[in-house]
């Protein structure tokens, strides 16, 4: 047991922090979020080519760096801290894990290698229009083709992160008449496949794009199927759990950022003849924010260790569902709390477009509902312990 970063992990953290402080400035974020693509392709190119972050936890046999989930988490925390606009979560935190968990050797090689090389962005399309975010949310239907040699996808996936721009869609679809996690298949579908209609859904949080994707009788060959037909429910659930840990890490970074913003602002801002940060009520609230940040940190890195074991370990690691729900529930509340306090403690400028707290506040809200709200995750835990 050693619950601290190794020297190498600390180096990764520092270099990510320094790099993002340079490139993901407030101005850069605002420029990226004003585009329909939603991120700066040149910056994404630097990340892929100079830093290879997209390859961080992809095994070496598929062209990745072969590091662990903790290292992935470290990057996500720093990205969340700087509101980096990028297809990282969708490509690495969703699609790559789905491929790792559900693909066969050939599929992994086919798709993970271009991801690891930075040549391919990807995402996971799973939730339908009913507002759920778990594996039971799948609404797209997959029917075996009459000749038995492929599938036809029909239906709508909504809230797909970077769904309008990803090169590859990992699509969760279900057998007609199935429910919950039963009957679910995963498919690797190039976004330019005939019958795939993608529409950008502009969102309150402009730092992460969402799309609706309509599958209008999309015909797929057998090779698009990851794993066995109708048997991917467990892999999808595990993918979503790993992604929940990823989002929790981003949330931790965001919470840290708004705490830092708030402390800096209140130290500078003078009212009633004193820096407002010297008023005890403000200090106590900043202290409560720090408590949320530090407990989130404990939650995230605990969950990251569990996720690492679940993804790469020798055992099946039954703790992942609990750890993922714990981290997502806690960090969702913590980030939202810190972000709203940040607006409030900034006073008048806190709700202007010009200052940054609102960017984090909106990101906190969108991250809260992404992959299931806190109360949903608590209920999942209740099911396990009660």
């Amino acid at each position: 047991m050693d619950f601290a970063f190794t020297d190498e992990q600390e180096m990764i953290r520092e270099s990510a922090q320094d790099f993002l402080a340079d490139v993901s400035t407030s101005a850069a974020v605002r420029a990226a979020m004003a585009t329909e693509l939603g991120y700066d392709p040149a910056l994404w190119g630097r990340i892929c080519n100079e830093l290879c972050w997209q390859a961080i936890h992809i095994p070496e046999e598929y062209g990745g760096l072969g590091l662990g989930f903790v290292e992935l988490t470290i990057l996500l925390e720093q990205m969340g801290r700087r509101l980096l606009c990028s297809p990282f979560l969708s490509t690495v935190g969703l699609a790559a894990n789905a491929l790792l968990l559900a693909g066969d050797e050939e599929q992994k090689r086919q798709w993970l290698e271009p991801i690891a090389e930075g040549r391919l962005t990807a995402t996971l399309a799973w939730a339908g229009r009913r507002g759920r975010q778990d594996a039971g949310a799948v609404e797209v239907q997959a029917q075996a083709q009459a000749d038995g040699d492929g599938f036809v996808l029909s239906g709508v996936a909504r809230y797909v992160p970077d769904g309008h721009s990803a090169d590859l869609l990992i699509v969760a679809a279900r057998a007609p008449g199935s429910e919950g996690t039963a009957g679910i298949s995963l498919f690797a579908v190039p976004a330019d496949t005939a019958g795939v209609e993608r529409r950008w859904l502009p969102t309150m949080d402009q730092t992460r794009r969402q799309a609706q994707i309509r599958f209008d009788g999309v015909r797929l060959g057998r090779e698009a199927l990851l794993g066995e037909a109708g048997e991917a429910g467990a892999a999808l659930e595990k993918t979503l759990q790993l992604a929940a840990v990823c989002v929790a890490a981003e949330q931790l970074g965001g919470a840290q950022a708004v705490l830092d913003l708030t402390v800096d602002y209140t130290r500078e801002r003078v009212q009633f003849g004193r820096p407002v940060g010297g008023f005890q009520a403000i200090k106590h609230r900043a202290a409560d924010m720090m408590l949320q940040v530090e407990t989130s940190r404990s939650a995230v890195y605990y969950a990251a260790c569990v996720a690492d074991e679940a993804l790469f370990g020798e055992t099946s690691c039954g703790e992942l569902p609990l750890a993922a729900s714990l981290a997502k529930a806690w960090c969702s509340d913590a980030y939202f709390y810190c972000a709203e306090e940040s607006i409030q403690l900034h006073g008048g400028v806190g709700f202007t477009w010009e200052y940054d707290p609102h960017l984090y506040f909106k990101r906190a809200k969108s991250s809260e509902s992404l992959l299931g709200a806190a109360s949903w995750h608590r209920e999942r835990i209740a099911q396990a312990i009660l």
Binding site: P202, Q206, G273, F351, H358, S369
Partner: protein, 394 residues
């Protein structure tokens, strides 16, 4: 103590509802439920036309005394008017700063000449007002006002900057707290000036908010001028008048505000019923709590209005801003949580918000403008609970 209205009051309620049903239609139909907080930027010209329609119907200055041209309604009837106005979706009042703040201030402290000059325009919906209080660097702290005015050639010459001024670009006049005694500090040496907006010495710069829209403005005074007569009270009376004005803000119009809140809550409830969240026990608790909170807000307001009308602030009044602002902010969050992931999806690009998204984002300002929650807590602790004052340093 009784909470029901008299039969006469209920007849008055029918009269108001009837007039609104007859008038808030046709060209005004599209204004229903528009122009409230967070939506102030919408349809300004149409809403001014609507103000004149109100004036024709005798529905401006309903609480002003008859002697100055007001309708002189009882408190109960004012409550009813504001409730019915909001219930019918009456548009956000372009004239509310004139009617609710400038007018009452002039009625209480203005000269006869000032009343004769300014009150008719407010009542008729032909002159609009904005408020020059907050300053950058001073925030809610009027004692730190740096805008200064000096007497030059029979006029006041004003230099400085105000901020968080709503409707500045739609207003004809601004009331400005300025320092008229050079070198004075704190609450002393401030005066209450009436300044015409349409002059080269005034620049208005909109402030883009969290919603992407502009409700508030910065107002720059660069050798702006106003006539020597346009001072309310004597030089140095500014603090006293400003404090009295704070009292005018907490009045019967709160009941109308609450009816808007009820409209919003009803919309949240309708969505919850529609998308199944109404079946979720945790959400049920939160919706019930919001409902309870709004009822309490109503009865809290009625307590404020039923107490002694001696101008003293009751305890029910001292907590009111903190209470409604926090409740409304929480309603915004509840609305989003009821919507779930769909809460994110805009009406359209680049940043067209739905009504509930606008509620959610704009309510973040409720707990800040007009005295932050923190300032409100200071006031409650020091004035109502008489706890020791914060030591003043520096």
């Amino acid at each position: 103590m009784k909470i029901s209205f008299s039969a006469e009051d209920e007849r008055f309620r029918d009269e108001v509802a009837g007039w609104l049903a007859d008038n808030l239609r046709g060209e005004f139909e599209s204004l229903r439920f528009r122009g409230g907080p967070g939506d102030e930027h919408s349809f300004p010209e149409e809403r001014k036309t609507w103000e004149r329609r109100l004036a024709e119907g005798g529905w401006t200055g309903v609480g002003w005394p008859g002697a100055v041209g007001g309708r002189g309604l009882s408190i109960n009837q004012q409550v009813i008017f504001h409730e019915e106005y909001a219930r019918a979706g009456g548009p956000g009042r372009m004239g509310h700063i004139g009617e609710g703040l400038a007018g009452p201030t002039l009625i209480a402290f203005g000269s006869e000449a000032q009343k004769a000059r300014f009150l008719p325009g407010i009542l008729a919906g032909t002159e609009y007002w904005c408020q020059g209080y907050s300053e950058p660097g001073a925030g809610s702290d009027l004692a730190n006002v740096k805008t200064r005015a000096e007497r030059v050639d029979g006029r006041w010459r004003i230099n400085g900057q105000k901020v968080w001024t709503s409707l500045a670009h739609e207003s004809d006049w601004c009331f400005v707290i300025a320092r008229t005694e050079p070198g004075s500090v704190g609450h002393r040496g401030l005066s209450f000036l009436l300044v015409p907006m349409d002059q080269p010495g005034i620049q208005v710069r909109p402030i883009e908010q969290i919603t992407g829209t502009c409700e508030f403005n910065e107002v720059f005074f660069d050798d702006a001028v106003t006539d020597a007569d346009n001072i309310v009270g004597a030089p140095g009376d500014g603090w006293k008048i400003a404090m009295a004005l704070l009292g005018f803000e907490r009045g019967v119009s709160t009941l109308g505000q609450q009816m808007q809140f009820q409209n919003e809550l009803d919309q949240v409830i309708a969505i919850a019923r529609d998308n199944g969240q109404a079946q979720d026990p945790v959400m049920r608790q939160r919706i019930a709590d919001a409902w309870i909170g709004l009822r309490i807000m109503r009865y809290n307001s009625l307590r404020m209005l039923s107490g002694p009308q001696d101008g003293s602030l009751s305890k029910a009044a001292m907590i009111y801003k903190l209470y409604w602002a926090s409740w409304h902010r929480d309603l915004g969050k509840l609305a989003m949580d009821v919507l779930g992931p769909e809460a994110e999806i805009l009406e359209g690009a680049p940043y067209d918000l739905t009504r509930l998204q606008s509620l959610y984002l704009f309510t973040r300002s409720d707990t800040i403008y007009g005295g932050t929650n923190e300032i409100q807590r200071n006031i409650i602790a020091e004035r109502a609970l008489e706890m020791p004052r914060e030591p003043r340093l520096g």
